[in-house]
Structures are given as C-alpha cells and as structure tokens.
C-alpha cells in the first residue's frame, strides 16, 4: 500500500480543470472499444448510467445486481429531486453557487475540483434525462419546474412528484435495457459480488454468487466499476433497502482499496419514528416537505396534549427561532441534531417521545388543501398508510434516521481507487459530499459519475495501460473463489443459537448509541470493544438455516452482516480519530456554547483514508487544499 494517495487533480484554474483533463487524455479508438470488457457491479443511478453509457460507446459490458431486476436498485426510493445549476427560475443560481453550496454543505471536507466538476456536469444530466423521457414536473407554460431544498437559497431542484429517484433510475434502466436488447450488455441479475480478483496488482475480475442456485462464478474483464451504494444498514435500522450492503466494497477494501471517511454518515431529519422492536426498516419522508412543513415541539416538557390543542404561544418552532435565514430548510445534519436535542430535553412527542412535529396547517391555510395535495399527495398517503394518521389534519411525527453514507472507497479525480483498474462510482465512493450531503445531490452525483465522468476516465485508463488477456482460469480467480466458498461453508457450519437478525439488531443498537448523531470519546471506545466482542460471538454462535445450493436469504444476509461487523469498528475508529465536529460527525467534546459544531481546520482538513492489511488498519491522510473557497464557520443563522 502506498503511504501517499495521489488525488490526480488536473492543473489550471478550478473552472478549467475538467476541460484540461479531457483535452489531455488518451482515447480508445472506436474499433478497439469492443475488445474491452468492463464489469459493472450494481445497477442504481451510478451503475445503470455507467453500464448504458459505456455500452453506447462500444465497450462490452457485463452488469451485475443482487435484485431480481436492474430496475429495483435502491436509487429508486429517492423521493425529492435532483439539483442542477440551470438557473431556469432566474433566482441567481450559477455553477459556482452550486459548487459553493455543496462544499459548504459538506462542511469543507470534500475536494474542490471534484465538486466543481459535479456542478458543471449537473446541467447535462437534466438534458439527458429529459431526452430519455423522464417525466419531470412542469409549469403550465410547458417548461420545467423547480423547487427548493435544504442548504440552498435558490430553487434548483428538478423533480418528478415524490418519485424522482424512481423516474431517473427507470431512465437509466431503459437505456441499459436498450443495450441489453442490442447485445452490448450482458445482464446478471440475482448475483452478489463476493470478491475482487487482482492480477499483477490490477483489478481484473470478480467472484459472484448466483443467489438462486448458490453457484460461485468467475467473471473477468479489463476494469471493474463498483457502483454498489452506501453502507447505512450497518445501523440495522435505516432508510436503506433491506438488501443494501457493504460487502462488495468491503471485499475490495480487503484486497487493498482504501476506505475513506467511514464515520461520515448522514442522519436524515424527517423519517417516520420507530414503532416497535419488530421494526425492520425506517421510512423517509422527503426533505421537500420542509418547504411547507413547519417543525415544532411543545415548549413545555412532557406535554401530552394533542398537537391541535397546544396554542401557538406554547409551541417552539425551534429551527425558525435558531436559524432565521434558513428556517426549516437548514441542512440535514443541523435539522437532525436539533430534533435530537429537543427530544433529549424531554420535549419529544408521540408514544415513544422520540419525535417532533412537522406541521402543514399553516401551509394548508395559506395555499389550500389542493395545492398541498398536488405537491405532496403521495407522501401524505404513504405517511397515513404507515402510521394510520392523516397529516392533513394532524401534524406528522418525525425523527431522524440513518439515510446516506458520505464515506466510501477512496477515489482520485478519475474515480479510480488506489487499486488500479477498480473504479468506484456514486454513493459507494467518498468523493463529493464531504461530511454532509445536501438534499437532491445524491441523484446528481450518481448520474454525473455514470453518464459523464466515467466514459472519459475509464477510456483514459484503458488507453494508457497495456492489459494482458486474462480469463477465469487464472490462478488468482481460483484463490479468490476458494476464499468465497470457504466463507459460505463456514457460515453454514456454525449452527449456533442466535439468528442473523438478532446479531444485526445488536450491532445496530451499538452503532446508533455510540456512532450515531452524537459521539464521544468514551462512547466510541465502548463501541469498539462491544463490536469486537459481538463479532467474535457471531463467528461462534450464529445460526444460519438452509442450504448453500438454493435461494437462501439468511445466508446472504449473514455474509453481509459479517462485513458490517468489521466496518462498524472502523467507523468508530475513524470517528474517534477525528477530534472535531463537522457535518454529520458531531463530537460532543467539540461544540460551541450554543451547541453548534466546531471544526478544527488546522488539524483535520484532510480525507481519512484507511488502508487494510492483515495486521490491521492504518490511516493515510490526503490533505484537502482549498484554492478557491475560503473556509469559514458554516452558519445558517
């Protein structure tokens, strides 16, 4: 492992870097593209758009997903929207402002050059999606509509009702499907990546498990694109889909890819609160609701009156009070922490007292019920289905929940990890959101990486490297395959007494209590000790039912949990190491008198990239250099 990580930021002024990069790279000639096979793991916004685009360019693509169809990747659940600097509303937006807001929103812990490229590309994404037939919301004049999201003072979010992720994903899926029909993409659904295969230090293949037959398969290629999403399910309860996991990324990490900023997780402020110990996942309610919903708690502790019986004067609209310029639209980390504080002070509402109100009464009076229904109708219905309460009549109850992970595999400007030939796109990498992601930016990043970044950077890699032909008979594949098989057999052989879900809930509790919204040195040390003990117990006492040769979801989940049990410890370690509060990482020891996060730019303006070896993890620091933006204390007051 190299002890220095080269981010390969191109030369020149910030605004010219991406052009300079594109002007300087080598290209793969059209006739040669079909000689290259690219393995794309994951079919969400990043993987779906990458697979489609590379196939359109002429590469041979093999695409893999764990779901039964590429259309079901978890990007589909994104509700609110996608940002772009189109400035159609004429309200002062520019590429620079989108760049600035994203870096500031990330609390100055992301790379300027990557984020600037993202902002530049944002407009092309909207053009591309509209051309695919994505039915974005429109104004009566026929042009595209925009709305506001947290952390910005302009309206730059494009949306398709409350189903923007679904529509963008279906756009990418349809483009992929076209290439599947043309024979340019070979699709492998219900396949899980279990290992990365390196030949001469370069990523040349993957080992997968067929989730229907249990067969272990070898797939070789000239590069591997990992587009496998985030690791929020390490907390057990999160807004992530049940199948979302870290396994593919973690296996790459154990083969040498550095894991960056693992402790940077996003806790989303508006989720439906936990209702009982059978709870299997949490449901997010789009941030767009904060455009019209007002967040409040009773001023009095332990107030048990119904919300409508509490007079105005006895309510605390704490976000409007503390942050008058952004009000209810402060970024997610700020909104979440304030909700937690309100509940910690005993002002929480509902049966469990772990909730705050999100109230639409004022907006309904001002705009009418129909206008609110047009904006949020499907979200209101979803809320009612889950809770049995009607949000037109009574305020929603909301509590923060784990939603997104800003950390991920370390990548350079080309989205290449420190393992040559392994590229990481979308939420699976760490690159663009720093310590906190702004709303409507995940969709933007996934599609930017897949449609408009990887076609250039992958081409440059393939054109600059002479890759020998490698197929599945290479010894490296045999070794990785035996490792994968041994692991599956080990999991089935233990036959202990505790189920996979029981262990996962236990890990989730430790992570939420000590590596959640608020962290302390003492708590993090405790987390490391408890996770280590839990992991040891898991490998002695887990009960995995069934066979390895049929569909067996418990076996799949057991393998994923084994990796979460290692990742969780690294997250705690990373959080312990970072002795400052920034974005979603809040260390209680580092806060101002009024409870705001206190960064320490002198000591911590770096990316914490963790390298794995058999002797444990070592920390490599990539310093973050700000040439265009001046670091300031983030204020939304």
């Amino acid at each position: 492992m190299k002890s220095v990580l080269d981010s390969k930021i191109p030369s020149g002024p910030l605004k010219e870097k991406w052009d300079n990069y594109k002007n300087g790279i080598k290209l793969v000639n059209p006739a040669n593209k079909r000689k290259h096979t690219v393995l794309v793991v994951g079919t969400g916004l990043a993987g779906g758009s990458a697979a489609a685009t590379l196939a359109e360019l002429g590469y041979k693509v093999k695409s893999f997903c764990i779901q039964d169809s590429p259309r079901r990747a978890h990007s589909i659940a994104a509700q609110g929207g996608i940002n772009a600097a189109k400035n159609y509303p004429n309200d002062g937006d520019t590429v620079w402002r989108l760049f600035y807001d994203t870096v500031k929103g990330g609390d100055y812990r992301s790379r300027e050059a990557n984020v600037h490229r993202l902002a530049q590309i944002s407009n092309n994404i909207i053009d591309q999606c509209v051309a695919q037939g994505v039915p974005f919301a429109r104004e009566y004049g026929g042009l595209l509509d925009n709305r506001s999201f947290g952390g910005a003072q302009v309206s730059r979010t494009f949306y398709a009702r409350g189903q923007t992720g679904q529509q963008l994903l279906l756009g990418a899926y349809q483009s992929m499907s076209r290439q599947i029909g043309l024979g340019n993409i070979e699709m492998f659904a219900r396949q899980e990546m279990l290992d990365l295969v390196l030949v001469d230090g370069k990523a040349r293949g993957i080992i997968t498990r067929n989730l229907v037959t249990g067969e272990i398969e070898r797939h070789s290629g000239d590069a591997v694109l990992l587009c496998t999403g985030g690791y929020g399910n390490v907390y057990y309860l999160s807004t992530n889909a049940k199948n979302s996991n870290v396994t593919a990324a973690w296996r790459c990490h154990k083969r040498g890819a550095a894991f960056a900023n693992p402790c940077f997780t996003q806790i989303h402020p508006t989720c439906i609160p936990v209702s009982g110990d059978y709870q299997s996942k949490l449901t997010l309610m789009s941030e767009s609701l904060r455009n019209d919903g007002r967040v409040w708690v009773p001023k009095k502790q332990g107030d048990t009156r119904k919300p409508r019986d509490i007079p105005e004067a006895e309510r605390d609209y704490y976000l409007e009070r503390r942050y008058p310029s952004f009000g209810n639209l402060v970024p997610r980390d700020v909104a979440s922490r304030n909700a937690k504080n309100a509940c910690d002070e005993g002002k929480g509402v509902g049966e469990t007292k772990l909730a705050v109100y999100l109230d639409f009464a004022e907006a309904i009076t001002r705009l009418g019920k129909d206008a609110i229904a047009a904006r949020y109708g499907n979200l209101f219905e979803m809320y009612e289905r889950i809770t049995g309460e009607n949000p037109y009549e009574t305020p929603m109850r909301m509590y923060p929940a784990v939603h997104y992970t800003m950390g991920g595999l370390w990548v350079d400007y080309e989205l290449q990890s420190n393992v040559e030939g392994l590229f990481v796109l979308g939420e699976a990498n760490f690159s663009d959101h720093g310590a906190n992601r702004l709303g409507a930016s995940a969709l933007m990043q996934g599609l930017a990486d897949g449609y408009f970044v990887i076609p250039y950077t992958l081409g440059s890699y393939l054109a600059s490297n002479e890759l020998q032909k490698v197929d599945g008979s290479h010894a490296a594949f045999s070794a990785a395959e035996s490792d994968a098989k041994a692991r599956v057999e080990k999991l089935l052989s233990i036959q202990g007494t505790k189920t996979v879900t029981e262990y996962h809930r236990e890990l989730g509790r430790i992570m939420w209590d000590y590596v959640g919204m608020s962290r302390t040195e003492e708590g993090l040390k405790k987390a490391i000790a408890e996770i280590t003990a839990l992991r040891e117990d898991f490998w002695k006492n887990v009960l995995v039912p069934g066979e390895k040769t049929t569909m067996n979801k418990n076996l799949e989940f057991a393998g994923r949990l084994a990796d979460f049990l290692e990742l969780g410890e690294l997250m705690a370690r990373d959080a312990l190491e970072r002795q400052e509060s920034c974005g979603g990482h809040f260390r209680e020891e580092y806060q101002s008198e009024d409870g705001e996060a206190m960064r320490n730019d002198d000591l911590f303006t770096y990316v914490a990239a963790w390298a794995y070896s058999e002797n444990g993890h070592t920390l490599i620091k990539e310093p973050l250099e700000y040439e265009s933006i001046k670091l300031t204390t983030r204020s939304y007051k």
């Binding site: 758009s49 359109e56 779901q67 039964d68 169809s69 259309r71 079901r72 978890h74 659940a77 159609y88 092309n124 909207i126 053009d127 591309q128 509209v130 051309a131 695919q132 037939g133 974005f136 919301a137 429109r138 009566y140 004049g141 042009l143 595209l144 009702r161 679904q166 529509q167 899926y173 349809q174 483009s175 499907s177 076209r178 599947i180 699709m187 889909a241 049940k242 199948n243 009982g276 059978y278 709870q279 299997s280 449901t283 997010l284 049966e351 219905e381 979803m382 289905r385 889950i386 049995g388 449609y451 076609p455 189920t499 879900t501 029981e502 039912p545 069934g546 049929t550 569909m551 418990n554």
Partner: protein, 250 residues
C-alpha cells in the same frame, strides 16, 4: 403500546421450481397492529429458524412500496386487501386477533416459481428491452427546456411512468396477461414528444415480446387496475391497442 394479536398464516411452501408445493399452517402469537405484513413474515421466519425449520423465502427490498420487489397474493388478492398499496405497506392494523391469512406467490406461467413465494419476473425486463426506451445516447441531448411539454401531458406521462414492475397485474389477471405493465410504458412514452420517433417500432416489439414470454391476452376484466399499487389506469391498455393498430397500418 398496542395490544398483540394472534394470527394464523397458511403459506405456500415450495422447495424449488420443479418441487411439489403445498400449504403449511403457522401461528404468530405476538403480532402487533403497527407491524407491516412483511414484518409479520419476518417474525414468523425468526420463529421457524429458532425451531430448526427453513424460513419462508419472499422477495422484498425497499419496503416503501417503490422498488416493486415484494408481491404475494394475500387471501386471494394480489398485494392484499388495501387498495393502491404494495404488500410491504400493508399494515396489521387492518387485521384483528384470531384472523387467518392465506399467502401465495404470483401464479402465472410466465413467472415460474423459484422458491416459496419468490417468482422469476425477468420476462418484464425482456419486454422493456424489446422497446421500452427512447434511443438517445448520453451526451447528445439538447437543452432540457428546448422541448416544452404541456403540463397536462407531462402529468399523465408521470401517472403511467409510476409503474413499479411488481407483477401484481399479471397475478390478478385471469389470463395472466402483462398488458397493464406493457401498456403503462407504451402510454408513458406515447404521451411525450421524445417517444414519437420510435412510436411504431416500440409498440410492435413490446407487444410481440409479451406474447412470446407466454403472457395471455387482455379480455377487459380490469382486475389488473384493481390491484395495481400505483393505480395505473386500464385506459393505458386502450392506448396500447390504438398504438398497435396504427403501427399495423404502417
């Protein structure tokens, strides 16, 4: 806290695609009204694992009614009794203590059973691959606002595009037809100028693929519309027929 309920479940168990299936009866003594239906199955599976039995396999992922992974027939109705709701969002507050619930997989020749409640819906992917797209390569698009689209048309396109591809329409149809699924995509793209250049080839290819996969024809029972968790209208099927007819005329 809410009171617990005793729920009896009769669940279709089938070890593999070729194995003989059968109903098995189970009891969950501690169901809770706030639970989702899939959480009830989770609780049952924990019970089964602890008693040394094989858990019930069922597809699920987002549990928010949008990914389209889940789908079982509950008491004879695809996705269960609550209208416009995927079974992951069906909550136990709609049942009472002592109820018996019968759970089966989607049944259709074009959706072979993989195990228990899990079926193979890859036929849907092949229908989309036949023509459910706009052929536009990344990078070649003009500015998004160069193409004004009336709000009413865009809103309708969104209604049709909302399909989650769960397959309930097929499961509910007496002919196991995939018409609602196929028609939803055809109608979405037919509403928009972007879909126009490939309008004829799209409908022909998709309808032909649907037949090739072994789905039946539509005979206007409208069971599909009744169970669709996204409320896709059967009017899309009329649109599909009109589009197909126009394409036939050249």
């Amino acid at each position: 806290m809410a009171e617990s309920m005793n729920i009896k479940l009769k669940v279709w168990r089938q070890a593999g695609p070729k194995a003989q299936g059968r109903f098995e009866t189970y009891t969950v003594p501690d169901a809770n009204p706030h639970m989702s239906f899939l959480e009830l199955l989770d609780v049952l599976n924990e019970q089964l694992i602890k008693s040394g039995k094989d858990p019930i396999e069922f597809d699920h992922d987002c549990r928010e009614g949008i990914c389209g992974s889940c789908g079982v027939v509950v008491d004879g109705v695809a996705h269960g009794p609550q209208r416009r709701t995927a079974c992951c969002q069906l909550h136990m507050r709609h049942y009472k203590d002592g109820d018996t619930i019968v759970v089966e997989p989607w049944r259709a020749e074009a959706f072979p059973i993989i195990k228990d409640l899990v079926v193979d819906r890859s036929a849907f992917d092949r229908i989309i691959a036949a023509g459910g797209f706009v052929s536009v390569n990344a990078g070649s698009a003009q500015d998004a606002n160069c193409l004004p689209i009336a709000k009413t048309a865009a809103d309708l396109a969104m209604d049709f595009a909302a399909c989650i591809g769960c397959g309930a329409c097929v499961a509910a149809c007496p002919n196991a037809s995939a018409s609602l699924f196929t028609a939803a995509k055809i109608s979405h793209l037919a509403m928009l100028p972007q879909g126009a250049p490939e309008r004829k080839s799209r409908v022909t290819a998709m309808v032909n693929q649907m037949a090739e996969e072994g789905f039946g024809d539509c005979s206007n029972h409208a069971e599909c519309e009744a169970v669709c968790p996204k409320g896709i209208s059967i009017s899309t099927i009329a649109t599909m027929r009109r589009e197909y007819f126009k394409a036939m005329l050249g």
